[in-house]
Every structure is written in structure tokens, then in C-alpha cells.
């Protein structure tokens, strides 16, 4: 049995809004095995951000978790106190965001920020500085000693993101959450950062939860893929399974729509017609039924169950139950 570093079971998250209760996540199951890279792919409104903020316990005040379990290293994160959680965030679980400027303090030098995050360690400042420089070298900064004293705005976007990664990995976490870390970067820079993440993951042995809407990146980097739609996980499996044998109609359509996968020139590009459903007034049945080209009567009556479809390949769709 492969050991999981993170297990999410039946997680639901609601938001209080003035129009009613918005059911942002519903009965989400997710496994992140040790030393693996799991990709979460989904479009706007699928709940990726809510999922991440639930794991790091940074949900807004109007959020409510009616049920669920987030098990990390034998502890349920949802049951921890704020102090206990603070001991874990930044050390055992850390996070890299899409916009590096949101992680980096613009008025403090890079070096000082790298030293500051080591505040829990009882070692001398000299050692902290050396560790920081080592980390900055590892993430590929060309002149770590010079850049140590520079300010974030003096670095380019790609460098800033490398620094964010360095800061996230400084404490040696077992789980790194990467929320669209390359979306704001040019394609040629993205290639460099992905290579970096892959190398670092192999060296440090941590797991990565990589969230993105970019299918090509997920296919290249990840071992396992989780597909989310409108607050639910609709399919999960190994990268090979998902990209070569997609089972859920949404996954199938998503792969079809990616212009990169369309090898021949096409005048009319495929799309998924319609919009994501209203998460406040949910209707009965499958969440994707209004946009699914293969829906049957049962899809409007019953919500499909999360079942193992093939070797470690899970899906929730009535059509696969045969």
C-alpha cells in the first residue's frame, strides 16, 4: 500500500452569501501519496482555491465546513487549533502562489526575508544566511550573494518566482502546494520553472500538489491527476490514465478543447457550450448534466457515486457503471 501524505475525505465547504449558501466544495476525496506530484486541473469556479485555502486553514470568515477530514501525517488538520496549525504551515506544508509579489514583502530585502522565515530554528544568523544562499543557488539564481541583498522589485518575474520557491522549500516541507505558479510567466520561463520543480522534488523527496488550468503543464509534471468541476472531483487517476483513457465526459471534452491537442488546423474550435451551474441553487442529479452531450435520464435524477473505474482510476459518472 502506498502511503499517503495527505488524505482528504468527504470534504464540503459552504460560503454564506447574501443570496444564500454557496456550496463551493462538495464531498471532495483526494489522496496525495508520499514523494509524488499530484495535479489538480479545473477551470474557473471549480473550487481549486477553496480546496487550497481549506488545507492551509485560511478560509474566509463566511466559510463553513459541514463535513470532512483532511488527514496530514496522522492528524486531522480541521481539528487543530490555530497555534498547532501555525506550527505546520511554513514548515511541513508550504505554498507557492501565482503572483510572487503577493508572497514577497516589497520593502524587505530577499535575504532578510529568507532569514526571517527560519525564525523557528535556534541557530546562528550566520548559518541561516548560509542556508539561504544555498537554497537560492539551488533554485537557480545566477548571483545568490548579490541577489541576497536585493529587493523583490529588482528581480524579474521569473526570478521572483524562484525566490518564492526557495522560501517555500527552505524549511524542508513534506508537502508543497503550488497554486498556478507558472500561469503568469512566459512559456519559455515556465519550462525552466517546471524543470526546477521536478529536480527539487526528486532531491528533497517532498510531495507537490500542483494546481493549474494548463493541461500541458499537468501532463508534463504530474504523476497523478485530479479533475475538478464546479466544486466536485469528477475524476482521478494516474497521468497516463487520465490523458489517454479519460472516462468522465467533462475530462474528455476538456482534453478535446485544448488547442494544443488539436494537431490538425481547424477552422471551428471545439468548446463546451453553456456555463457552470449556480452553486447556490443546486439541482438534483449530476453536476455536469446540463453541458454533457451524453447525459441520460438517470443523470437528472441521481447524483453519481465516486467509484473505482479501473486500476486506481476513480470517476463519478453514471455512464461508467456498466
Amino acid at each position: 500500500m502506498i502511503e499517503n501524505i495527505l488524505r482528504i475525505r468527504d470534504l464540503s465547504v459552504n460560503y454564506q452569501t447574501n443570496r444564500g449558501i454557496l456550496k463551493a466544495l462538495r464531498h471532495v476525496n483526494l489522496d496525495i501519496p508520499k514523494s509524488s506530484i499530484v495535479g489538480v486541473v479545473g477551470e474557473s469556479g471549480c473550487g481549486k482555491s477553496t480546496l487550497i485555502t481549506s488545507i492551509i486553514r485560511q478560509l474566509d470568515d463566511n466559510a463553513d465546513i459541514p463535513n470532512g477530514l483532511i488527514e496530514f501525517e496522522k492528524q486531522d488538520l480541521l481539528k487543530l487549533s490555530k497555534d498547532e496549525m501555525r506550527n505546520i504551515s511554513g514548515t511541513k506544508i508550504s505554498i507557492v502562489f501565482q503572483n510572487p509579489m503577493s508572497t514577497l514583502n516589497p520593502v524587505i530585502s530577499i535575504g532578510r526575508q529568507m532569514i526571517d522565515i527560519q525564525y523557528r530554528d535556534q541557530i546562528s544568523k550566520k548559518i541561516k544566511k548560509q542556508r539561504s544562499i544555498d537554497m537560492l543557488t539551488k533554485v537557480g539564481l545566477p548571483d545568490p550573494h548579490i541577489q541576497f541583498n536585493q529587493y523583490p522589485h529588482e528581480l524579474s518575474g521569473g526570478m521572483q518566482q524562484r525566490v518564492s520557491i526557495a522560501m517555500a522549500l527552505q524549511a524542508g516541507p513534506s508537502l508543497l502546494i503550488a497554486d498556478e505558479p507558472t500561469t503568469a510567466l512566459d512559456a519559455t520561463l515556465e519550462v525552466q520553472i517546471l524543470k526546477l520543480l521536478k529536480e527539487l522534488q526528486e532531491e528533497l523527496g517532498c510531495s507537490i500538489l500542483f494546481v493549474s488550468h494548463h493541461l500541458g503543464v499537468i501532463a508534463e509534471l504530474c504523476d497523478h491527476v485530479v479533475v475538478m468541476y464546479a466544486g466536485q472531483v469528477v475524476e482521478q487517476g494516474s497521468t497516463y490514465e487520465i490523458f489517454n483513457k479519460p472516462a468522465h465526459p467533462y475530462t474528455i471534452k476538456l482534453l478535446e478543447c485544448d488547442p494544443a491537442s488539436i494537431s490538425k488546423k481547424q477552422r471551428l474550435l471545439p468548446t463546451i457550450p453553456g456555463e457552470i451551474p449556480d452553486l447556490i441553487n443546486l439541482s438534483k442529479g449530476c453536476i455536469f448534466k446540463n453541458r454533457c452531450s451524453q447525459s441520460i435520464d438517470r443523470c437528472s435524477q441521481e447524483t453519481p457515486i465516486w467509484k473505482e473505474f479501473d486500476n486506481a482510476h476513480f470517476v463519478s459518472c453514471h455512464l461508467t457503471e456498466s
Partner: protein, 326 residues
């Protein structure tokens, strides 16, 4: 098809220091060239795509073509009229012939105006008093596939996709000859990217409008573009028919861009992946010789001290490189 747009040796500069600062810091030339020695030709009914990464000068080139930025050197001829030397009344007439779809779909809409007023704004600006604004608004919304009721809404109430369509509706309001589309798919989910591109292609067929597209997403270029130009540090490194460029990219940068735009789970791509070293140099410190040599995996003799010559293949693929590939 007649020539629609013809640009020759365009140069667009921006000031980096005020005259006072330049004097104090002894900077001889306080400018950067955002666009340098750019030449292109576009025919009526074509889709011309500008491809490049951030800082390549794509938007600057587009804004200069639209007449919003001044050209330091060179010519921009639209339907045989030189945009760079137009008088203000000529510019007003020009503004009716080309329109712009902005990258920030919501930010480019005036926040306190309703959708209906926004898309008929051009009629008010050009004093076309004989038009029934409500009718025009309904007609334009129908053309872009939006419901009539959306004309009452305000920009912050629109989704990204809806705002983009409103931008398109506004752009076609005066029946322009050419639409400049700046990153038409930026921020859109993959499942709806096709919608906007299909819409642009449909308008091209129905209204006969030509498209000048700017994008860094190479994957969509193949499906919508007739001619493509690849930009780096303000210059064209390669341009030609899209099909030729995709089939046989000859400039190393083009090849790198193509291999960086990954197809999901395609083994072939990973093996031929070109990795560029380092980052894009600053415009204030342009490399000597071929400006791409600092990152080029094939850089060799002459690349760092001699500016590369222009090669022309099959009369349409043009590039500047010492050692073209393929």
C-alpha cells in the same frame, strides 16, 4: 486581395529619463526602443498574428499601428495612407476604419457606463446622429451572441467571457476594416477559448474584416492565423505563412517557443524540447550582434558580434539569423 497594411522599418521609442536626469547622470541617449526595424505586409481579409513573450514589443507595435503612439522612424501605411503623418481630421477618419479589442476585457470598459452605452459609444463620438442607438445595440449584441438584456448591465457584473464579447461588439460597431485583438484568449478557460476565436473567425467571414492578433499562446495561432510574425526584443526574428512556420520553424527562438507550448502528454515534444538559458535581456542593455545569442542553444561564431543578415525562403518566410535551421 489588395494590400491593407504595410509597415516599413518602424521604430518606436520611449523616454527613460527626463532631460534633467539625463544631464545629471550623463546618459547620452535616454530612450529605449520598444520596436525596432519592423516591416510587414498584410492583405485585406487576412489574419496576421504577432507572437512573442512579455516585453517583446507586440502591444507597442499594435498601439503604434492604431495611431496611439508616435513613430520615431519608419512608415505605417493603411490603405495607402501614411498613419504617421496624418492630420487630426484624417486620424478621426482612420479611427473609424480600425478598432481595438483590449487584453483586459473588463478594465477596458468604462466602469460607470452600461453595456448598451459602451457598445454604441463610437456612434456618439463620431456624431452619427442618424443611428437608432437601441437598435444598433441589439444588433451588435446579437452578432456576438449575447442576450439583449445584458445591455442594462455594468462591466463589473460581467464574467470575463461576457466582457470580452462586449469588447468585440464595441469593436465592430463602425464596420471597421481591421480589428486589432490583443490577447483575445487571455484569462479565458480552455473550454471557452474556442468560443471567442470562433466568433472572430465568423465575423471575418460575415463582415469581411481583417484581423491583427497579438498573442503569446502559440497553440491558438495555428487555427486562426494566415500569416505570423515572431517578435523578440522589439524585432521580428521570423515571419511568414503560418503553416510554413509551424511546419518548418527556422529561427531557434521560434523553435523554442513551439516546443515550450506543450501538448498534453505528447512524448514527442519532451524529447525535442528546446530549453532557453537565462532570461530576456533588458531593453536598456541590448546584446551585441544577434540579440538572441545570449539565450540561443545554437549560438556559435559571429553570433555575438555581427548582426545577422535577413534570409528569405520561398519568397515568404523571412528571418534574421546567422545559422537558420531546417
Amino acid at each position: 486581395m489588395s494590400k491593407l497594411l504595410s509597415i516599413k522599418n518602424l521604430r518606436v521609442r520611449f523616454r527613460t529619463n527626463s532631460p534633467f536626469q539625463a544631464m545629471i547622470n550623463k546618459i547620452e541617449d535616454p530612450y529605449i526602443d520598444a520596436v525596432r526595424q519592423v516591416s510587414l505586409e498584410m492583405k485585406e481579409g487576412e489574419t496576421f498574428t504577432l507572437v512573442g513573450e512579455s516585453g517583446s514589443g507586440k502591444s507597442t507595435l499594435a498601439l503604434a499601428t492604431a495611431g496611439l503612439l508616435n513613430a520615431e522612424e519608419g512608415q505605417i501605411k493603411f490603405m495607402n495612407e501614411d498613419v504617421t503623418t496624418m492630420t487630426s481630421s484624417q486620424i478621426m477618419a482612420y479611427r473609424k476604419k480600425i478598432s481595438y479589442i483590449w487584453q483586459d476585457s473588463i478594465g477596458s470598459l468604462s466602469p460607470r457606463m452600461s453595456v448598451g452605452s459602451l457598445i454604441t459609444e463610437a456612434y456618439k463620438i463620431h456624431n452619427l446622429k442618424d443611428r437608432d442607438l437601441k437598435m444598433e445595440s441589439d444588433r451588435l449584441l446579437k452578432l456576438v451572441g449575447l442576450p439583449k438584456q445584458i445591455s442594462e448591465r455594468y462591466p463589473h457584473q460581467l464574467s470575463g467571457g461576457q466582457a470580452r464579447r462586449v469588447g468585440v461588439a464595441r469593436a465592430i460597431s463602425l464596420d471597421p476594416k481591421m480589428i486589432i485583438a490583443d490577447e483575445p484568449t487571455a484569462g479565458l478557460d480552455v473550454s471557452v477559448q474556442g468560443e471567442i476565436l470562433n466568433l472572430l473567425n465568423k465575423l471575418k467571414d460575415d463582415l469581411g474584416v481583417s484581423l491583427f492578433v497579438i498573442t503569446h499562446n502559440l497553440n491558438i495561432v495555428r487555427h486562426i492565423s494566415d500569416k505570423t510574425a515572431v517578435m523578440y526584443l522589439g524585432r521580428f526574428v521570423e515571419q511568414g505563412q503560418t503553416d510554413d512556420i509551424f511546419a518548418k520553424p527556422r529561427h531557434p527562438y521560434t523553435l523554442a517557443l513551439l516546443s515550450a507550448n506543450l501538448a498534453p502528454y505528447s512524448e514527442a515534444n519532451l524529447k525535442n524540447r528546446i530549453e532557453l538559458q537565462g532570461e530576456v535581456p533588458s531593453l536598456m542593455d541590448r546584446p551585441n550582434g544577434c540579440e538572441f545569442h545570449t539565450r540561443c542553444p545554437f549560438s556559435s561564431k559571429h553570433c555575438d558580434n555581427e548582426f545577422p543578415p535577413i534570409h528569405t525562403f520561398n519568397n515568404s518566410q523571412i528571418l534574421t539569423c546567422h545559422y537558420p535551421l531546417n
